[in-house]
Amino acid sequence: MSKEKGNNAPVTERGNSLELNIGHLYPAEMNLYGDRGNILCLVQRCRWRGIEARVKSIGLGESWPQGLDLLFFGGGPDAQQKGVARDLLETKGEGLRHDLEDGLVALAICGGFQLLCRYYRPAEGPDLAGLGFFDAWTEHPGPRVPRCIGNVVVEWEKSKLVGFENHGGRTYLGASCHPLGRVRRGHGNNGKDRTEGAIHRNTFASYLHGPLLPKNPLFADHLLRLALERRYGPMVLPPLDDTLEDLAHAAALRRGGG
């Protein structure tokens, strides 16, 4: 890895080295399916390019921080989701909504995705209010209906995203909400309309674990470039040696039947 480090490190017009502040929402509560791998991926891909990446944990009870360049919000167990939903709206809602509308680059996976939508309707009990950033909502069809579990292949831009989904809730997109991609294998948002995830402004949402970014380096670099350009202006990211990433991508396609 050291041979990659520092070579062709992008710099600002004044020659300063670049840095990126990454926020990790609720790392203790929303961390169920290896989603922290997305953070590891973003940080390493910065580091290998000589970009300094800092990670800030944003936990229960903490107020919304200033100065983020990229936000990650992972999935968690249903039991944790209630407390997280309340905390999200009470202590962070205003700042978070403002930043997302302002174009903060963000990635939300599974439970994180659901909490950025309008509401989550559990199998029993009252609806759980979400941030309402995405014009979308989620309904749990009840414990007798099987969860959406399995390998997923999604068409995204001109390539494919691979991952693994494991969710009980079915998410439906409103008219003003665009999907991240089109499901080729697997269930995606709801198993019916072949949509997967959502995009609004610079916020990307998906049901894909795996984790999503390491095996989809094109998508990871897409997020990094958006975040860096938002802060520093247009730039070209120096390429990395993605041999292993491409092998893992191909293996997931092979196992996922895509």
Partner: protein
């Protein structure tokens, strides 16, 4: 004169039918097992039971009822197989004749297969007077097994995230256990891990006696639970627990600052723990019958929990303490659970890894070995492994780096396996930049990855900052094992870390080469 009608036995035909059905079921099950072995499909550790109980659904409770000393059921995410072997060893030393299901065959069909192998043609159990069933039971199967087996003791060791694609979420399992334990009669003893808040809190639904075990040695603890901890919030009121010491995952000494729910004081505990290399451990066991020194031919804190659970269960079944500790000292590892053997002058050690907590514990155990081993990880994604391989990103490989230590220590090396992670401190989960003071051993650790998802494993290790490249990825197991052995100098150790089905494959390969007996021939 009319003849009196001959009184008929009530429903004679039905009795006959049932007996014929049972006899057929027993015979068919045994035939299926013999065929399975003949066809090389495996040891028939589940098929006989599956066939027989399909033909006669009441066969399992019918056979279980005939166990002269009843049964103990053992469950938990990690350590079932090892704990059962320890219990069986202690029971044997105490004069019982333990009857066990085979390694990992822990669904109802596996239990039925075990009992079937001791049954006569009509479904009569031919078991010695002291026969006591020691059965490991899959976490999700415990609620089904309890009403059928009517155990006299139930042991629950731990609950971690595992095979989420199969179980959904860990809370689901805990709720299932809660209901299952509530259905037990008052005379069933329940043995629980005091250090696991998800397990210890199950006591609230138990009507009979509860026995706790736990670790009392704070030197083995860290501050605060690892990031893979699943149950960090109070089971009663939902507030985050406070830990005075944390052993691994969410295991430790915890207390809820809001409602006061706290770790119960264990009746059976371990103190004065000392690790001697990666596969030998000494500790003092403290019990209501007194204290004793124990030496285990196993490494890892998790094996101390296994030993404590076994000790508590054996004591509850009336085995005296000296017999228990004696049997623990004689314990030899179970296949794939730290079993080691010598191939061409190289020690090959096999540690099953199937979830983040188990994998972290395996890495921590390796860190206690004196010299850096070659490491071969075999990652499969079959149903029994979990089809979702995301979990490897919850394992702390970031610290898996051998560093040469000062010459004065005689060139020994030590592995900082991942242990000092603290919750939420996101920067700490990243690999450390190599510092100039460290002199890395040039060719170690040598890493290989294999299995159906070898590429995923390689990628995980790459992002942990470890030295892997496309050459480290060797899909076919046979070739991977050969390369890894070749890369291990004579006198050194190769550590193989396979997932569940990969463990079977490694075992099969070693058996083919004559290094190991086939798994169904193990005790």
């Amino acid at each position: 004169m009319g003849r009196e009608p001959i009184p008929l036995a009530p429903f004679p035909t039905m009795v006959v039918t049932v007996n014929i059905r049972r006899a057929l079921a027993v015979a068919a099950g045994r035939l299926a097992g013999a065929l399975s072995r003949r066809l090389g499909a495996g040891g028939g550790t589940a098929i006989p039971g599956l066939v027989a109980t399909t033909l006669d659904p009441d066969l399992l409770p019918h056979l279980a009822r005939q166990l002269p000393q009843g049964a103990i059921l053992v469950t938990g995410t990690n350590g079932k197989t090892t704990t059962c072997r320890m219990i069986a060893g202690a029971l044997q030393a105490g004069g019982f004749a333990p009857l066990q299901n085979r390694t990992g065959s822990n669904l109802l069909r596996g239990l039925a297969t075990t009992l079937l192998s001791h049954a006569g043609p009509g479904g009569v159990l031919k078991a010695a007077e002291g026969s006591l069933g020691v059965f490991e039971v899959d976490e999700a199967v415990l609620p089904l097994a309890i009403p059928l087996m009517r155990p006299r003791t139930v042991l629950i060791n731990n609950l971690f995230r595992d095979q989420l694609d199969r179980y959904g979420e860990v809370d689901t399992i805990r709720s299932l256990w809660e209901e299952a334990l509530a259905s037990l009669p008052k005379d069933t003893t329940v043995v629980l891990n005091a250090d696991d808040p998800a397990v210890a809190s199950l006591a609230a639904s138990v009507r009979g006696p509860v026995l706790y075990f736990g670790i009392e040695d704070p030197r083995e603890g860290r501050q605060g639970p690892e990031h893979t901890a699943d149950f960090i919030h109070c089971q009663r009121c939902g507030r985050a627990y406070e830990y005075t010491t944390s052993f691994y995952a969410h295991l430790g000494h915890y207390r809820c600052p809001q409602c006061g729910a706290a770790r119960p004081t264990p009746q059976v505990s371990a103190a004065q723990i000392s690790f001697q290399g990666f596969n030998r451990t000494g500790f003092e066991v403290r019990t209501p019958q007194g204290c004793a020194d124990v030496t285990l031919n196993l490494g890892g804190l998790y094996n101390i929990y296994n030993a404590l659970g076994a000790t508590a269960s054996a004591l509850a079944l009336g085995v005296p303490l000296p017999e228990v500790t004696g049997s623990l000292a004689r314990f030899s590892p179970v296949f794939g659970r730290m079993e080691s053997l010598v191939i061409d002058g190289r020690t090959v050690c096999l540690i099953l890894v199937k979830n983040p907590t188990g994998f972290n514990q395996a890495l921590r155990t390796l860190s206690q070995s004196l010299r850096p081993p070659t490491v071969l990880v075999v990652l499969n994604d079959r149903i029994a492994d979990g089809q979702d391989v995301s979990w490897i990103w919850d394992v702390d490989f970031e610290g898996l780096r051998w560093e040469a230590v000062a010459e004065s220590k005689g060139g020994e090396a030590n592995l900082n396996a991942a242990a000092d992670q603290s919750l939420g401190a996101a920067q700490e989960l990243l690999p450390q930049e190599p510092s100039l003071q460290q002199t890395p051993l040039p060719e170690r650790p040598v890493l290989f990855v294999s299995g159906l998802r070898a590429e995923d494993m390689a990628l995980r290790l790459k992002y942990a900052g470890l030295n892997v490249g496309p050459d480290s990825v060797v899909g076919p197991l046979k070739r991977a094992l050969d390369l890894a052995l070749k890369a291990t100098p004579e006198g050194e150790t190769l550590c193989v870390l396979p997932t569940y089905t990969a463990t079977l494959a490694v075992q099969h390969l070693l058996a083919q080469r004559g290094h190991l007996p086939h798994y169904w021939e193990h005790g």
